[in-house]
Structures are given as C-alpha cells and as structure tokens.
C-alpha cells in the first residue's frame, strides 16, 4: 500500500487531535465571550446615548487585545491556572464574571491612575495657601508699620519734588578739542 508523504506525516500525529480540539474550543470560547461582552457594552452604550448603532462596535471590541486573554487558561501557564476557579464559578452568570475579569485585567492601570491622582492632590494641597492662611498673612502688618511706611513714602515724594529747585544741574566740562595742526605745533615745540 502506497501513501503520499503528507498522509504519512499527518497520520503519525492523529493522536494529538483531541488535545488540539480542546485548544481550539478554548480559543473560540474566548472569542465568543469577548463578542458577548462587546455586544453587552454596545447595548449599554445604546441605552445611555440613545443612538442607533450597528454591531460594529461589538466587533471592534473583539479586536482589542487589552485583557482579552487574561481569563483564558493556557496549556501550562501557572499564572493563568489561577483563573480557572473563577471561570468555573458555579451558578454565577456570565456577565458579572466577565465584568470582574475585565476590571481585574485593568487592576494595574487603575492602581496607577489612583496613585497619580493621590500624588497630584497632595502636591496641590502643599503648594496652595489656604484662605485662612492668606488672611493671616494679610493681617500680619500692624497699623504702626503701615503709618511709618506711609510717612516714609511721603518724605521720598517731597524730596523728589524739591530736588530740581535746590540743586543746579551739573554743567558738562567744556572740552573743546584743539585743532590737529595745533597739536602738531605743540609737539614740535616740545622737541
């Protein structure tokens, strides 16, 4: 009996078919779950916005990679095995589980955002003086100091006004350069 090389090679691996079926079913189930979440989100958007939408947004959510496979139990990954009990929650409806998975997949983003907000709030509290503190700063100058400052100001103004009458403007020195020929004459005389 003669077989092609293709038949020979594929025939030797037929035993792997059941395992491959399991993998295929898991991946497709993940897709279906994403599609259902996308459809639910799409419906919620329609409810809130009140605008008719096509199913396109549900499809586009499928193509989003973020957190998409977080709940998919991989063949051997220990981290993802942790998710199995959550996925197999008996009696739990599909939607809450998906929402929990969705939020759980974003946990680091949410934690980071929260931390950033806390830091921003703390910084703004430290730098901005409160209204009470500002009022205290304003009332810290006493009336005596104010009066003294006012007097000093008046004195300076009086000095400025009186200055042109008392002082004569200094005349610039009369520097008339002698002609160049005179300079030469002087130099020859010296010699």
């Amino acid at each position: 009996m003669m077989r092609t090389l293709r038949e020979v090679i594929l025939g030797r691996h037929q035993a792997a078919q059941p395992k491959l079926d399991v993998i295929r079913e898991k991946v497709v189930a993940g897709l279906e779950r994403d599609t259902s979440v996308g459809a639910i989100l799409c419906t919620k958007e329609m409810d809130t916005v009140g605008v008719t939408q096509t199913s396109e947004s549900a499809v586009s959510r499928v193509s989003k990679p973020a957190g998409r496979w977080a709940a998919l139990p991989t063949w051997k990954s220990a981290i993802r095995q942790v998710w199995k009990p959550a996925l197999r929650g008996e009696g739990a409806s599909v939607v809450p589980t998906d929402w929990r998975q969705f939020l759980w997949s974003l946990r680091w983003h949410l934690a980071g955002m929260s931390a950033a907000w806390v830091v921003a709030v703390l910084l703004s509290i430290d730098r901005t003086p409160g209204p009470v503190q500002a009022a205290e700063n304003r009332s810290s100058t006493s009336p005596q100091q104010l009066l003294a400052a006012l007097r000093e100001n008046q004195r300076q103004v009086r000095e400025l006004i009186a200055a042109p009458d008392s002082e004569s403007t200094p005349q610039p020195p009369n520097v008339n350069p002698s002609p160049h020929s005179q300079n030469r004459l002087n130099s020859t005389r010296e010699v």
Binding site: L5, A16, Q17
Partner: protein, 183 residues
Amino acid sequence: MLVVAEPEQLPVPQARAGDPAAWDILFRRYQLPLYVYVFELVHDEQASLDIVQETFINATRHLGSLREDAKFGSWLFGIAHQKCLQRWRRQGREADALEEIAAAPVEAVGDPAELLVRAEQEAAVMRLLNQLPLAQRSVLLLHFVEDFPLEDIAAVTGTALGTVKSRLHYAKKALRRLLEEEA
C-alpha cells in the same frame, strides 16, 4: 482521510468580522497540519501544543495584518514559524535555526504527491526527516504537508526564494536516495 478545503472556501472574511464560528472552521482546518509542522521542528509535544495555542490567539488578534485572504494558511504557518524561532532563540539554538546551506543547482520541485511511500518505508522516512537540518526540514514539511507555493514558503520562513529552492532540492534528494535504498 483528511479533506483539505480550498483556500477560496475558507471563511476568512467572516473571521475578520469577529465571527467565532468562522474561526472555529479555520482552526479546525489547520490545527493538525500546524501541530505536525511545529512538532516536527521542536520535537516536544507540550511545547508544540503551546505554540499552536499561541498561534491561534495571535491570529485572532492580528488578522488585520493579513492582506490577502487566500494567504491565510501560509500567514498562520508564518506565525507558528516565528514562535518556533523564538523558542530556539531561548534555547540558544538560533544558529541551527538560521542555518544556511550552500547554493545548489536548482531543479524542478515537482508535485508533493509524486513522492509515494510504501508502508514499510514510513518509519524510515520519518527517521530521515528528523535527521535533516532544521532549515531543510521546515521547507520540506511546508512543501509536503500543505503544498504551499515556493513563494509562500519563502514568506513563512523569512528566506529568499533561491534558498528555499536549494533547501528543498537537498531534502528531496536525500529522501529519494533513502527510498531507492529501501527499494
């Protein structure tokens, strides 16, 4: 007997639209050939199953990068091939994986079905297949298992067309010699 669907009949447009049933058909069609290809390269059942799963997941994520629907098969094998390369790199076998061989006189490649194997020769053929260098084995598997055109094999393996031809030439020559000896 495994029935191979024509590329035109594959529901790639529906899969693009996110239809899980379409993905199921596509995966069902390619799961065994893909597994065989990966297994014959890495020789590890668990790792092969991992790579097949990762390939499926990547395919669902990045189908948008596929330009021609008719090339879905070679595109999928390309993903798997890259996964194998990553594994080899992790194992420090990159030199083996990227091994080049001297240019050979290129002959007509011929039909994959031309090479018929008798039942008593099967074990020997598989043994020889595993003795081939990785690069030759990869090309030979893609040629015989999926009957990809040489251009597609070049795209999957990320090598030049001439390199694919020479690798296939050497691999087939070795196989023929074995079959003649067995006869």
